[in-house]
């Protein structure tokens, strides 16, 4: 079984936020009301974070990075889930079972990366957004927690397709929407166990780092530092 992981090259990333939009439309993530958005309930599975500003004005640069679910190998969210609504599947993806979630938000409280988002309100979307729903992804009702799933529906489609064609999955068959969209190919995705894959090589690069590595959550999303 492969172990899917992602490496985001901050040297290439141009902070254009295309990954954020792609994620939003691919996964039918709710667009919350104006009130909710202004009260900290905006829902993004992929988010552009400004970690810090390095240097002093005018020789100053922000350190920005796209932050999705880290798909930890030792996820702290699944440990605390009382109903197994979130679990790690056989390919290492921390998946969500929306119909099982009771909405206790314990996983949110325990995620050190704050990647989980909650459907605070009823899902009422503008008409033009509703028409553009991705038919492969279910729309979450109010009261459940959701997060990035590495576009697991794409994996399902790709593996079904490969099965129908009587072949094994190939590396390019399955990539999440953010990876497909990135204009500068800053995100590489694939099997971390396959030592020859690009993502595996990059994850072992000297520039690679993981967010909050010290917590021992073993994130499968890693970053490559920008070169000065």
């Amino acid at each position: 079984m492969p172990k899917y992981g992602m490496v985001i090259d901050l040297n290439k990333c141009s902070s254009c936020q295309a990954c954020v939009t792609a994620c939003k439309i691919e996964n039918n993530v709710q667009i919350v009301s104006e009130y909710d958005a202004q009260h900290g309930r905006a829902m993004f599975w992929m988010k552009m974070l400004t970690m810090e500003f390095e240097g002093d004005y005018p020789n100053i640069r922000p350190k920005t990075l796209p932050r999705n679910c880290m798909q930890c190998d030792e996820p702290s969210c699944i440990k605390v889930c009382p109903v197994r609504a979130t679990y790690k599947n056989e390919v290492g993806i921390v998946a969500q079972i929306y119909p099982q979630c009771i909405g206790c938000r314990y996983c949110m409280a325990n995620c050190p990366y704050t990647v989980k988002v909650f459907n605070w309100d009823r899902n009422e979307q503008p008409k033009e957004v509703e028409k553009c729903y991705d038919p492969d992804v279910s729309v979450r009702p109010k009261g459940v927690v959701e997060k990035c799933t590495f576009c697991i529906h794409r994996l399902q489609i790709a593996s079904e397709k490969a099965k129908a064609e009587h072949r094994d999955m190939e590396p390019g068959d399955y990539v999440p929407a953010c990876v497909e969209t990135c204009p500068v190919d800053a995100i590489s995705f694939g099997d971390l166990d396959d030592k020859k894959s690009e993502v595996s090589k990059e994850s072992r690069d000297y520039r690679s780092f993981a967010l909050l590595d010290e917590l021992g959550t073993v994130p499968k999303v890693r970053y490559l530092n920008a070169i000065e």
């Binding site: 040297n11 290439k12 141009s14 902070s15 254009c16 936020q17 295309a18 954020v20 939009t21 792609a22 939003k24 439309i25 691919e26 667009i31 919350v32 104006e34 958005a37 202004q38 900290g40 905006a42 993004f44 988010k47 552009m48 974070l49 400004t50 500003f53 002093d56 004005y57 005018p58 020789n59 100053i60 640069r61 922000p62 920005t64 899902n123 979307q125 503008p126 008409k127 033009e128 957004v129 509703e130 028409k131 553009c132 729903y133 991705d134 038919p135 729309v139 929407a177 497909e180 969209t181 990135c182 204009p183 500068v184 190919d185 920008a226 070169i227």
Partner: protein, 719 residues
């Protein structure tokens, strides 16, 4: 049970009625809105169609995902040479505009200040009547399109109407205009193969440029080769994050900075003496001007740019083998707009335009026409509407110029004084709401158009095919203009019936020319590459019609192995170009004083103030600052402390034009003398107004030559 024919008929009728009732089920049974599309869904067959995104000047290829013939998603087309599979937020959400509930569904006529739906025939009748009775010499046209073909058509219409009052707002042509005026020619692309140093004057290469996606990739490759680039700009925007040196400077001082750099190069004597000697007219005058007024110390005192950075940048520029001093349209957005651009052209001329490239292949008619159509023949601009009593008819195509320029009240008044205003906007926006007649254009996904570009160093013609049939009774503006030209007999030998014919007439030579390839495969390598370069290729078409159909199907045509040359024009810049009118002896203004200035900046979510009616983009607009649906200002913490303004609080920002509320964001990268405010929000014509339009509060300061507004010269206070 036996059943005779009559019973069967009854049964059939009954079940038909049953189905009919069932069909109206959502009304009768009140099934929730979300469930209905699921009930009525078809077999869910997925298909993909290829088209081109027209949301910005980038001309990216789009792959539109269709479920049962209805578009649901759009991604980048990996075979397009412009974007190679990537796509930006605007392109990703292009499907949503198609279903937007605010779209105009039919032509509208204003009766007693209210819009009424009318038929296209009636609307067209009004248009032709107005033009034939009052048209010649009294019409004006303001358009915004990045299609050179559409722009050319509009110019042809206005030529027929004997009016020079036409402006086609086209990013590429605005960017090359200073070259055209100073050197009678413009470069086609940055030669990234050889270019090893770039000084960028304010252009947002990776956000809003001729091809943000191409430049994003190219700049990464450029940096990967350990080449350096410096950016002079008023704000540290994402494209400046990667610059080796970001020097904050206000746009009206680009001219000083560029000439300050020239001073160092001239003093060092490191300029390209042969080129300058042969091609630079009035070089001595230029040198005298620079030597007298633009020493780094003088520039520093005027602009605040440290002379050490000037000297460092100038030396790097001079020592590079193929440097580029880059600018695009954005350099014009200041009171010294054109002079900025001329100064940068002069700076490039000192190194013989070494980093720029030019396509040799000029036999492609499209690109000849591009030059002809894109470069503004007249220097008319939309500001000149104000006070012009001669204009009786104003036509507006997709340009929301009332929204995206300061001095809106004057413009509004000028437009309302014109007896007949016709808009082709697909939405009611701040400009089209002033119109007397609206003939809405198709949505981009319903439309046929083509775009040409040379920015990648290869001639590229991207085609936009209608991926769906028009939903409503909207009309392609190209078709309207083509039939106007025919019906009013505005052009001799006019044989086009539809916009498609017009496009085909331009693209026939491309077919005949025989080179290049469709966007149906990757760039050839190996043997195939050699064959291509030798002129051989595997054409999948045998007639022009087939070529045209396939071009539409695959999203366009390009020549992967074009013949290029260096850009070596004759520069006819004079000292007059670089000195302000009436201020000949004092080039550049004094330093900006102690007052705070409002700096309006653009983001890659909105181009020309047309995109933020899209819910996804509007939500995401301030996401990286965690500000939603409201206007924010970015302020340097030091300035904020001085003004005792807290982080993430609401303040009133006051300018000469009034005051608006904004959310304060501390950003240590903001120029301490500036308050940065994003452009895009504040659409008053939409049903729900989010945030404010900073243009409304900006002083009406314009570049005299181009009429482009200054975005950073408004004094501002925080109350």
């Amino acid at each position: 049970m036996e059943m005779n024919r009559r019973d069967f008929a009854k049964l059939l009728g009954g079940s038909l009625i049953g189905f009919a009732v069932g069909g109206a089920g959502d009304a009768l049974l009140k099934i929730p809105g979300m469930v209905v599309p699921l009930l009525y869904s078809g077999p869910h067959v997925e298909t993909w169609k290829v088209t081109t995104c027209a949301k910005c000047p980038g001309k990216c290829g789009l792959r539109v995902r269709m479920i049962d013939k209805f578009p649901v998603q759009a991604f980048g087309n990996p075979l397009s040479p412009m974007n190679k599979g990537g796509i930006c937020p605007m392109g990703l959400t292009s499907v949503e505009n198609l279903y937007h509930p605010d779209r105009l569904t039919s032509p509208m006529k204003k009766v007693n200040g209210r819009f009424q739906e009318i038929s296209y025939a009636e609307a067209y009748g009004i248009l032709t009547n107005a033009l034939s009775s009052n048209g010649k010499g009294k019409a004006a046209f303001v358009a915004q399109t990045d299609s050179a073909f559409m722009g050319g058509l509009i110019k042809q219409l206005m030529a027929g109407l004997e009016s020079e009052k036409v402006v086609v707002d086209n990013f590429a042509s605005s960017s090359s205009m200073p070259f055209d005026r100073a050197a009678a020619d413009h470069p086609d692309f940055i030669d990234f193969e050889s270019c090893d140093y770039i000084v960028n004057f304010g252009s947002q290469l990776t956000e809003i440029s001729e091809s943000p996606l191409y430049f994003s990739r190219s700049m990464n490759d450029f940096r990967a080769k350990r080449n350096e680039f410096s950016t002079f700009s008023p704000k540290l925007t994402p494209d400046a994050y990667k610059a080796n040196r970001w020097v904050p400077v206000s746009p009206e001082f680009y001219v000083d900075v560029a000439l300050g750099l020239a001073y160092v190069i001239l003093t060092d004597g490191t300029y390209d003496k042969t080129f300058v000697g042969n091609e630079f007219k009035d070089f001595d005058g230029f040198k005298k001007l620079v030597m007298e007024n633009y020493s780094p110390a003088a520039v520093e005192s005027r602009t605040g740019v440290a002379s050490k950075y000037l000297i460092e940048t100038a030396r790097k520029f001079a020592n590079a083998s193929a440097p580029v001093a880059y600018f695009d349209e954005s350099i014009l957005y200041s009171s010294s707009g054109m002079r900025n651009a001329y100064a940068v052209v002069a700076l490039n001329a000192l190194k013989g335009f070494a980093g720029y490239g030019k396509l040799k292949d000029r036999e492609l008619p499209d690109f000849e026409n591009k030059k002809e159509n894109e470069s503004p023949q007249s220097s008319w601009n939309s500001r000149m509407l104000i006070g012009d009593k001669d204009i009786k008819i104003l036509m507006i195509y997709r340009s929301n110029f009332v929204f995206n320029s300061p001095g809106q009240d004057d413009l509004r008044k000028a437009i309302s004084d014109i007896p007949m205003v016709i808009s082709f906007s697909p939405f009611i926006d701040e400009t089209s709401e002033l119109a007397d007649l609206i003939i809405p254009d198709h949505d981009d996904l319903e439309k046929l158009d083509a775009f040409s570009s040379t920015v990648t160093g290869a001639p590229v013609i991207s085609t936009q095919q209608p991926v769906v049939k028009p939903f409503y009774s909207t009309v392609h503006t190209g078709d309207v203009i083509v039939s106007l030209i025919a019906d009013l007999k505005l052009s001799k030998n006019w044989s086009c019936k539809k916009y498609e014919d017009y496009l085909q007439s331009y693209l026939k030579p491309v077919y005949k020319h025989g080179k290049g390839m469709l966007m149906n495969q990757q760039k050839p390598t190996g043997l195939e590459k050699s064959l291509h370069q030798a002129g051989w290729q595997m054409a999948s078409y045998s007639s022009f019609d087939e070529f045209w159909q396939q071009m539409l199907k695959h999203g366009g045509w390009w020549d992967p192995f074009p013949q290029t040359s260096k850009y070596k024009p004759a520069v006819s810049l004079t000292v007059d170009h670089l000195t302000a009118n009436g201020r000949g002896d004092q080039p550049g203004k004094n330093a900006r004083g102690n007052s705070l200035k409002l700096n309006i900046f653009h983001r890659n979510f909105d181009y020309r103030g047309n995109m933020l009616r899209n819910p996804v983009l509007t939500e995401q607009f301030g996401m990286d600052k965690d500000v939603y649906y409201e206007t924010w200002i970015e302020i340097n913490p030091a300035t904020a402390k001085r003004l005792s303004v807290g982080d993430r609080t609401k303040v009133k920002v006051k300018t000469g034009k009034g005051a608006f509320e904004a959310f304060v964001i501390y950003n240590p990268a903001v120029v301490p003398a500036n308050i940065d405010v994003p452009f895009g929000l504040g659409h008053t014509a939409s049903k729900k107004v989010y945030g404010v339009n900073p243009m409304q509060y900006s002083d009406a300061v314009f570049d005299e030559e181009t009429g482009k507004p200054s975005l950073s010269e408004t004094e501002v206070k925080i109350v």
